[in-house]
Amino acid sequence: MNLLVAQAQQIEAPEIHYGAIAPVLIVLGAACVSVLLEALLPKHQRWAVQLLLSLLTLLGATAALVLYVTADDVPAQGVATLAGMLAVDTPALFLWGTLLVLAFGSILLIADRSVEPGGVFVAQAAIRPGTVQDRAQATKTGMQTEVFPLTLFALGGMMTFVASNDLLTMFIALEVLSLPLYLLCGLARRRRLLSQEAAVKYFLLGAFASAFFLYGVALLYGYAGSVKLSAIATAAAGTDRSDTLLFAGFGLLVVGLLFKASVGPFHTWTPDVYQGAPTPVTAFMAACTKVAAFGGILRVLTVAFENTQWEWRGVLYGVAVVSMVIGAVLGLTQTDVKRMIAYSSVAHAGFLLIGSIALVPDGEGVSATMFYLLAYGFTTIATFGIVSLVRNSDGEATHLSQWAGLAKRSPIVAATFTFLLLALAGIPLTSGFIGKFVVFSAAIEAGLTPLVVIALVASAVAAFFYLRVIVLMYFSEPAADGPTVTVPGAFTTIAITLGAVVTLVLGLWPTLVLEWAGTGTFLS
């Protein structure tokens, strides 16, 4: 006993830089409070209180972030806190800001009750689909308000993920962000069988991928004797351990990360889950998970594996090509709007991977990829916001044939959707063009010119299926029993406007964001 006490006194508590990690603490703390509210408040008050709490949390976390960034005594290269577990450097702060603003838009879409009376989430998840109770809940107002704490927990996990400086923290953050998303996917009010199927598929494949990630962590621990990213980089520079451990570990780790980012051959869950999940959750997943996953990929590749890039670059080169080709070619054959955007996101993941493997010394690849993530996130949120507006009597009308002649029914919605699709295709004067431009120029600087040529061909092929939707909306006669375009309430309007305006503004003045993204690189 005395020995234990004596030993405990020798352990020094690690220093915690509260100012730097305040945004994460606020989000995770509010998520816990939100769970408590769910238990204590009567049912009719929950939606309003939870929404208010979530929005205040995001505002508070953003304010804490701005206060920290604008303070005078912030070291330029960033700080490592919590015994080096979290690195709060420029990329981490940039991605936190991106995640918080994107989550703001997503929460507004999630909370909306004007498009679908009562919200798009099921009133009680335990009710069996197809029963009398299920038909009763479909028309009832009120929804399962647990979606708010689940979203906040997922957001907290994403923020930790992009800042985690060792692989164990990264694994925990990966699970904290994934588990709430699995549940959120299964909570749609309508088409509940599809929704539940999406949740099962996402869960089983996601757990499978995290097992690969974890085995990679274990092998790298065996190689470097530590899971700190900097220790792995040091070990890779010279050690007597077998390189088999390093490369097997790297491969397994990257499979787990690429799965989350829905890249290339690891994308099989993406179309199914995007289609089956409630549309606001799809928007949240498509925008924020992509940011978090690529934030993690960038950090791992830059900090831990930069020394060994000549060994692995060829492999990720191939993965990027496969991803772009799959996204562009299979996107052509889709007949469902949500699945089409899912394949478009697979193609975009390929473009993002090009930026991630362009490790040029001045960190241009990192800042370009982060800009692309931000631009893509805003465009996607607005796109899914619009998808949720086109409806018929049994919910969203997502089949492409139902979108024919939409411009005649609602010119504004059709025009906004056209603009967003052009941004996804990468037409000038949109943020999508600037994003592609900066990523491709970083890649050329890093000597990846053939890859850029393939990417340009893939963009041209992908542009075809975006243009097909535009032609369908403007030059087809609307069907007599076609869907109606719901007039959205304030929340959805704000979310769509936010996404569309950012897409336009970043297309005209990209330096607003590019300069901040380029001010620093990862802390190693």
């Binding site: 549940l183 599809l194 598929k201 757990a207 530590s226």
Partner: protein, 99 residues
């Protein structure tokens, strides 16, 4: 016994788990195979901790156990809800979302 044998055993268990996920049809069994993969990783973490002479790997094994427990809660809830609808836990029956 050299610790290498434990690493080989762990790799074998991981492969059995991975093959199980790919070939089994019942969602619960698929999920058990994922758990087998996680526990195989635990074995290699503990072995590497022994080889490296540090405690980190053993501590990580505890983290993995906690995460696996949380995953069970979420996973079984999802599998339960789809089982109550379909009266079957077969992953082949969930085939509405395709192409």
């Amino acid at each position: 016994m050299t610790p290498t044998y434990y690493l080989l055993l762990s790799a074998l268990l991981f492969s059995i788990g991975a093959v199980g996920v790919l070939v089994r049809r019942n969602a619960i069994v698929v999920f058990m195979c994922v758990e087998l993969m996680l526990n195989a990783v635990n074995l290699s973490l503990v072995t590497f901790a022994r080889i490296n002479g540090s405690l980190d790997g053993q501590v990580m094994a505890f983290f993995v156990m906690v995460v696996a427990a949380a995953e069970v809660v979420v996973g079984l809830a999802i599998i339960m809800s789809i089982f109550r609808t379909r009266r079957s836990a077969s992953v082949d029956d969930s085939n509405l979302l395709k192409y």
